[in-house]
Symmetry: none
Subunit: 215 residues, 4 copies
Amino acid sequence: MLVRKKSTTNATRRRNPERTRDLLLQAAFREIYRSGFQSTGVDTILAATNVTKGALYYHFDSKEALGHAVIEEIIGPSLRKRWLHPLRNGADPIETLISIVQTISVRPEVVSAGCPLNNLAQEMSPLDEGFRKRLAKMFHQWQQGTAMALRKGQSQGKVRRDLDPEGSASFLIAMYEGYVVLAKNAQDPKVLNVGIRNIVGWLRSLQVSRNHKRG
Amino acid sequence: MLVRKKSTTNATRRRNPERTRDLLLQAAFREIYRSGFQSTGVDTILAATNVTKGALYYHFDSKEALGHAVIEEIIGPSLRKRWLHPLRNGADPIETLISIVQTISVRPEVVSAGCPLNNLAQEMSPLDEGFRKRLAKMFHQWQQGTAMALRKGQSQGKVRRDLDPEGSASFLIAMYEGYVVLAKNAQDPKVLNVGIRNIVGWLRSLQVSRNHKRG
Amino acid sequence: MLVRKKSTTNATRRRNPERTRDLLLQAAFREIYRSGFQSTGVDTILAATNVTKGALYYHFDSKEALGHAVIEEIIGPSLRKRWLHPLRNGADPIETLISIVQTISVRPEVVSAGCPLNNLAQEMSPLDEGFRKRLAKMFHQWQQGTAMALRKGQSQGKVRRDLDPEGSASFLIAMYEGYVVLAKNAQDPKVLNVGIRNIVGWLRSLQVSRNHKRG
Amino acid sequence: MLVRKKSTTNATRRRNPERTRDLLLQAAFREIYRSGFQSTGVDTILAATNVTKGALYYHFDSKEALGHAVIEEIIGPSLRKRWLHPLRNGADPIETLISIVQTISVRPEVVSAGCPLNNLAQEMSPLDEGFRKRLAKMFHQWQQGTAMALRKGQSQGKVRRDLDPEGSASFLIAMYEGYVVLAKNAQDPKVLNVGIRNIVGWLRSLQVSRNHKRG
DNA sequence: ACGTGCGGGACGCCCCGTTTGT
DNA sequence: ACAAACGGGGCGTCCCGCACGT
């Protein structure tokens, strides 16, 4: 009569809804990241998780809903972790951005896969309003988080006062995504490296420093 | 009375292989541009053209081959027409680029649809090497055409000598594609307008002029 | 009240995987027997069973796999039932064989349809190794079962000692299949009747008896 | 006005209807023999002949008609050449039959391909009455030709009088086809060799000779 | 509540034997 | 004699319910 949750007592496995759900999200993200949303079959995800179809459709209403959840529960947190948290906590926004950009992986597989956010946006935005809105929200947070940091940097005297924080944030994101696409299509890490260097150069030009020229 | 122009009695229709082929390419481009390659069914293309399946598969070996042909025969020429020819023939590369960028359509449908080259690259590059290679070739031509024009501009004293033509060309393309994606996902022409303005500003900074500052 | 046999409320229908699978096998066999494997469409089988495509492809990976299963699960058992079991259990192999051969149906439809094993072998052996191997196994079992019975008959003194059991088994099968093909093409039961009579005559000549002549 | 048949004067090639027709028949036979009628596409035949589709459909009303023509113009003559002519002209029918049977090819490819007549009969008889009738006619000629020779042999005192010529002819054909099928499915020339030996043995038993026993 | 097995069909791409205009 | 066009059908895939055990 007592004994609640006997499932989690000894055996990991056997009825663990959260784990199942998470497993699915992880696998879904991985496959979608690799091949795109449309060409990822639910069976592929299932095969990668040892979860059955019924279980998937218990946790998610549809493949589409799974995709939405991937955006919100995988891509969103990842964005926050890699960009927004550092920016919120960092002392100098420009240095933080530089450090973020410089730690972008240039491993061939990553270069070929591109940026999850960008990939999904390109593929699904025109096809599904649910995707588009969620992705737009992500981009918005990204841009706003960056802009806010820049603004803070301005008030701290670390960032040039003559720049438009929001415009610069957008510019940064555009540049970044642009280079990622180029590198993805070229399947060439060098392209991305050049891009990163350019971005970093541009970022330095935003700093208030002894001499801020640009070339 | 004389010179019946190539067997057409009075109107279009009736046995015109080139026309059929072109019809298919146009329609395929339109649908792919709208919905992506994968979500475009051959039947959709057929319905849009009043062409039969047999005719399609007479002209193209497969849906994939049709896609490849779209790249080579629609997207390629379009790129050449909008970018490469003006650049080759224009007097001042920077002015030409500015004029090209400024004539980019910001009509909502176009903004929402994005850039055909970019769309296909994002969707198909990881899935199909045939697509990837063809698209990479396009990007390469685009970049080389731009770089060459810049180089010519340098030798004519119209472009700053301290810039790297190829790097700048890549940068331009990355910036452009980046903004297009942002605008596409936001479904907001304003985003693209801002981007265009930024790009134009940057382009001006490349010119050899009285005072070339940047902000 | 007790022992509700496995969830069926009152009648057939409603979730019965084995039944579905068997239905498909039966129908597939029937259609293949009638028209050959290639000209049997899966939709025909589906229509004959009120089973949907999803169900079929749940139970079988492909049309080909269905064909293989038909050989193993329908033709195989049928061969064992009609030939191998009687031969294994019968007292006198020759008498058993005679009885088997004499109970071959000479109904016009059966004559026109031919021998399932032979039909498939002729049609599919050169086209699909999977078919060929499975069919070869059937022929082998048939021949070995017959040979073994003849050998047993020899040791019991019921079959002439001067015959080669395996050669005779092959001969019997060849003769049988040969006549079946002739009758099938002629669409004439008489042809088969003559064949049966010849086979029976030959079989009697194998017996150890008072006077064993042949005509 | 004079100069008929200018086509065959100097250039072999270029407009030669009979040659085209024959080319098609040969290729059709070859492909059908290899893969069966249904799985042979017209394009395969075309590719093997450098003939266009239009030409094929000029010479034959349909694929079916082509198949019929193959029976009548390739398989028929071949049968006559290999069996009927020798039997009609030979001095001793049994010896002739033995010689025919012993010159059957046991090359692996031939064994695997089987007997053209039998193949087509098995595949097409239940599907197409036009095929069936033509093939039945072939079998009939074969059987009648053999029977007639046996009868002649009887009147010449070279063949046992107590046998039924027509029944024996059928038996020979059945045996032959039976072994061919067995060998085809087994893909084993040995099977056919054994069969040939058995057939020859049986044929010898039909001769009027010193001692005519059978085993 | 959580998970499973079986089944449901609509669609997807493509091939195939044919005909038609030239 | 041929290139071009015709469509119907072929097989297989895909995302998803539904009835049931635990």
